[in-house]
């Protein structure tokens, strides 16, 4: 298999996996289906079932509580109804809660049964109070009656005693079958003593005996009815309904779970198949990768060779650049040398002339001195004419006037030479490329001095230097070169377009603006057309005639200012729209960025030096 073939195969899985919309739709549908089955399989109704059962549990527990509170009342174990009533209310609330949960219609049977039971409980409570009271009152009345009838005749006493016995038997046994005996006893008592009917106690006794007959049995049967109210059965039915619903829901959920299982198995099978497929593709890809690796290795080797040669080229270029700068400096110095020679020559000339004059003057004066020696010291004869002739020959009057001025001129010439030499010394300050605080004004002055011969025939040069200018961190030698290049450039620009006898103007100013110092060099020459302004700092760009310039001056100035010093060098129109205006801006504080820039610019030069 050719490398090309295997590469094509390695790409084909993507097509076969299908990133097309149809596959995405099918995938989404399958996942959606699985999610649907999952959700449905969890809808077992378990939560609602549990909640419903719990509510029924509450009803059942309240029911049991209520039932347990009632028969202590029957046996008068308890005389307050608060506990039973509380249980009643609890049952109401629990039943309502269940009703709220399953809905009024479904809870109707339970609610009805519970209400029925609660009404029976209300009846039971009312009856038990009546039965209890009337039993106590009847007992009290029959007791009173026995006392009241103690003085009456025997039949009356016997009848009342019989009635009391029948009553006590009824009460203590509590048996309905004893009611007849009580009835008989009451009848017999009334027959025995007709007057008994009008006695209050007898009346009340009869009233309560009847109430007992009416209610005692009823109370028992009421309690039985309460207990027999089929709330329990209804509860069980409700439980069963809830459970049936739960089973139904659970079965439905089970089917969904089954479906989910099927979908998941299908998905797993499909994924397994795809995994196998991918395995094959992976092997293919691996093989093609190996081939690719070989090629990459080869290419890497090529690249590393190229990188090495590039590095060498870069180093070479750096070296060339350094040499270029040196060359330009030499060029500038060479160019200046003639001018400087001329500058030095002029004062040398008149120093020399004056010294020659002084030599002549001295030889003339020495004749006068000789004559004086002969006459005054040697005691020779005084020859007035001869003396006059010597004096006149020497022209002492003239010498007296000229010698001092010749001395002054010679001294001034020497001073002039000294100044030029000092400027040269300053200008050619041996820079070590590091940025040291330096007096830029002095640099400007010495540069102007050194370059005097370049500008003095074409322009008047005006210095407007700020005396308070702070020391600027800079490489003074490099900055000298920058200023020189710009001044020479200006002078040459002016010189190109001058009428004879006409002088242009160059103005150099320095100032501080915030955290930076600016040196502005303006000329009133023809200026730099806007179209080429962007190019003037390009290396080898020049408008001068061949042989007059190498086009390196401004390019070097630009690199020195921007790269070495982290400053700016811009060019624009002069003040009146004439000439050119170069602005050198240097930062006073050296931040890290400038340092880095400086380091980059400095390092290759330092390496060469």
């Amino acid at each position: 298999m050719s490398p090309e073939g295997s590469t094509r195969d390695a790409h084909s899985p993507r097509a076969r996996w299908g990133s097309g919309p149809a596959t995405a739709t099918v995938g989404a549908a399958v996942l959606g289906l699985a999610a649907y089955f999952f959700v449905m399989s969890n809808r077992t109704g378990g939560d609602s079932y549990e909640a419903g059962q719990r509510l029924l549990d509450n009803v059942a527990s309240s029911l049991v509580t209520l039932d347990s509170t009632l028969f202590p009342l029957l046996f008068e174990l308890r005389t307050d109804l608060d506990v039973a009533t509380g249980a009643q209310r609890r049952l109401v609330v629990d039943t309502r809660a269940y009703e709220a949960f399953v809905g009024t219609e479904r809870a109707a049977e339970l609610v009805d049964t519970v209400s029925r039971k609660l009404r029976l409980v209300d009846d039971f409570k009312a009856h038990q109070a009546v039965v209890r009271n009337s039993r106590a009152i009847a007992s009290e009345m029959i007791g009173e009656l026995a006392g009241l009838t103690a003085l009456r005749d025997t039949p009356t006493r016997t009848a009342v005693a019989d009635t009391e016995r029948a009553w006590l038997r009824f009460v203590s046994l509590g048996a309905p079958e004893r009611l007849r005996g009580l009835d008989h006893a009451i009848e017999a008592a009334e027959v025995a003593d007709a007057g008994l009917v009008s006695v209050d106690e007898w009346h009340f006794f009869q009233l309560h005996a009847e109430a007992q007959q009416r209610n005692a049995d009823r109370l028992r049967s009421l309690l039985l009815e309460v207990y027999r109210t089929p709330v329990g059965a209804v509860l069980e039915r409700h439980r069963a309904v809830l459970e049936a619903e739960y089973r139904q829901a659970a079965f439905a959920a089970y089917r969904f779970r089954l479906a989910l299982f099927v979908v998941v198995v299908a998905l797993l099978a499909f994924s397994g198949y795809k995994v196998l497929q991918v395995g094959r593709y992976v092997r293919l890809v691996r093989r093609s990768n190996e081939q690719l690796e070989h090629r990459v290795e080869a290419r890497t080797a090529e690249l590393s060779t190229a990188a090495k040669s590039l590095h060498a080229e870069m180093r070479e270029r750096e070296a060339v650049e350094t040499q270029l700068r040196m060359a330009q400096k030499l060029e500038a110095i060479g160019q200046l040398a003639a001018g400087i020679a001329h500058e030095i020559n002029t004062p040398t000339q008149y120093v020399s002339d004056n010294v020659n004059f002084l030599a002549t003057a001295w030889s003339d004066l020495s004749k006068v001195v000789d004559e004086y020696e002969r006459v005054v010291l040697g005691g020779g004869s005084v020859d007035t004419d001869r003396r006059k002739a010597v004096w006149d020959d020497a022209d002492v009057e003239y010498l007296r006037a000229e010698v001092p001025s010749a001395l002054v001129e010679a001294a001034s010439g020497l001073k002039q030479i000294g100044r030029i030499v000092k400027a040269m010394k300053d200008f050619s300050h041996p820079g070590d490329e590091s940025l040291q605080p330096a007096d830029l004004n002095r640099a400007i002055e010495s540069t102007v001095e050194v370059a005097r011969n370049e500008w003095k025939y074409v322009a008047e040069l005006e210095l407007d230097l700020n005396a308070d200018l702070p020391f600027v961190p800079c490489d003074l030698s490099a900055m000298n070169q920058v200023i020189l290049n710009i001044v020479v450039n200006a002078a040459q620009a002016i010189g190109g377009g001058l009428e004879p006898g006409e002088l242009g103007r160059i103005r150099i100013s320095s100032r501080q603006i915030g955290g930076r110092v600016e040196v502005v060099v303006e000329d009133d020459g023809p200026g730099i057309p806007e179209a080429i302004r962007a190019q003037v700092f390009d290396p080898f760009f020049t408008t001068k005639d061949v042989g007059k310039g190498t086009g390196q001056g401004l390019a070097i100035a630009f690199r020195v200012v921007q790269q070495q010093h982290g400053g700016t060098l811009t060019v624009g129109e002069g003040r009146d729209g004439r000439g050119a205006r170069f602005v050198i801006g240097l930062p006073l504080a050296r931040d890290a960025a400038t340092d880095a820039g400086a380091a980059v610019a400095v390092q290759p030069l330092a390496a060469v030096t």
Partner: protein, 338 residues
């Protein structure tokens, strides 16, 4: 995995249940019978009447309820407040034979006291409301009482920035009919009267009860009054026929539908003339008495009860002793609730 899910659901359901258990509608009587019912202790003989304990009051809600209870804007004509008929400082009722409501309409029944109403097992003479929350809207909607509705009351109160703000502070949904009912019910629930001389006596302060009242209490037990008027509220926990031992209504005459009592709720023949046994707490302050307001003085009420409910003779000095006991049942409403 499914089991864990279900137990989580169970827990949630339990929480939901706990949350929806209507605490507010659980009046204090019901709270006594908790789910952990102790059968054995239910068999022990307790005193038939038990003393009242001061309640913990949820003041913000109760103050709002108090404000509403005294607000006549709840009625149609803006003249009748709950407190118009339920004068808290004067026994919690109106002192009239029958209630006088909106447009001077005379009601069918005597105004029951609102004091300790929360301790009753049902509200109204016929017990048609189980909880205070069911009871509160009754008089507001009754055309002879306040002749209004919760909705229109809400509409009238909606203009009152202060009320609206107080509702907003208390309830997530602010001023609504249900929340109004809730606040009023909370106030009513706070209107208990602990600290009566009799309660103090029950709690062991023997000198709290004068000798006549002590004799009256003995009579109250012996004569059978206590069969119905028992428990914490000295009544209010059962229904009873009016006229067990004599036909009260035949003797009084002029029977109206209102006299049918519980029958009007259940429709069962045996419930005719059946009424909620009223609490006897503060009874000395709630004249006139009975659902028809027929007994002007306490002595009349005691005699009527002895005659028609107990069916027995009684001596006048016994009546006086019983009244002395009944007067000892007067407790005090918390002064801030007045």
């Amino acid at each position: 995995m499914f089991n864990r899910g279900r137990s989580g659901v169970l827990l949630l359901a339990a929480l939901a249940l706990a949350g929806c258990e209507p605490e507010a509608s659980f009046d204090t009587v019901a709270e006594q019978t908790s789910r952990t019912f102790d059968f054995a202790s239910s068999l022990t003989t307790a005193a038939p009447i038990t003393p009242l304990q001061p309640l913990d009051v949820e003041w913000t809600r109760v103050r709002l309820g108090k404000r509403l209870f005294h607000d006549p804007r709840l009625s149609r004509d803006g003249k009748i407040a709950c407190a118009t008929c339920h004068v808290i400082a004067e026994g919690g009722d109106d002192g009239l034979r029958k209630a006088v409501g909106i447009d001077a309409a005379v009601g069918r029944l005597n105004t029951p006291t609102v004091l300790n109403a929360s301790l009753n097992f049902a509200q109204f003479w016929d017990g048609r409301a189980t909880t205070l929350e069911e009871q509160v809207p009754g008089p507001i909607h009754d055309p002879k009482e306040m002749g209004s509705s919760l909705e229109s009351a809400v509409a009238r109160l909606a203009g009152d920035a202060e009320i609206v703000a107080r509702f907003a502070d208390l309830y997530a949904d602010g001023l609504t009919g249900d929340n109004m009912v809730d606040a009023i019910a909370a106030y009513e629930r706070a209107l208990t009267t602990p600290g009566s001389p009799f309660d103090r006596y029950l709690e062991g302060e023997d000198e709290a009860l004068e000798p006549r009242a002590k004799r009256g209490y003995d009579l109250f037990l012996d004569l059978g009054c206590v069969s119905c008027h028992q428990g914490r509220n000295v009544g209010g926990n059962m229904f009873q026929h009016f006229g067990v031992m004599g036909d009260y209504f035949a003797d009084r005459g002029n029977v109206t539908e209102a006299d049918y009592g519980r029958y009007n709720v259940t429709g069962r023949e045996e419930d005719k003339f059946m009424f909620k046994v009223p609490s006897l707490r503060n009874v000395a302050e709630t004249a006139p008495y009975f659902h028809d307001g027929s007994a002007e003085r306490l002595a009349d009420a005691v005699r009527t009860m002895i005659r028609y409910q107990l069916g027995r003779p009684i001596k006048e000095e016994q009546v006086a002793d019983i009244i002395a006991f009944l007067e000892s049942l007067t407790g005090e409403v918390h002064p801030e609730l007045l």
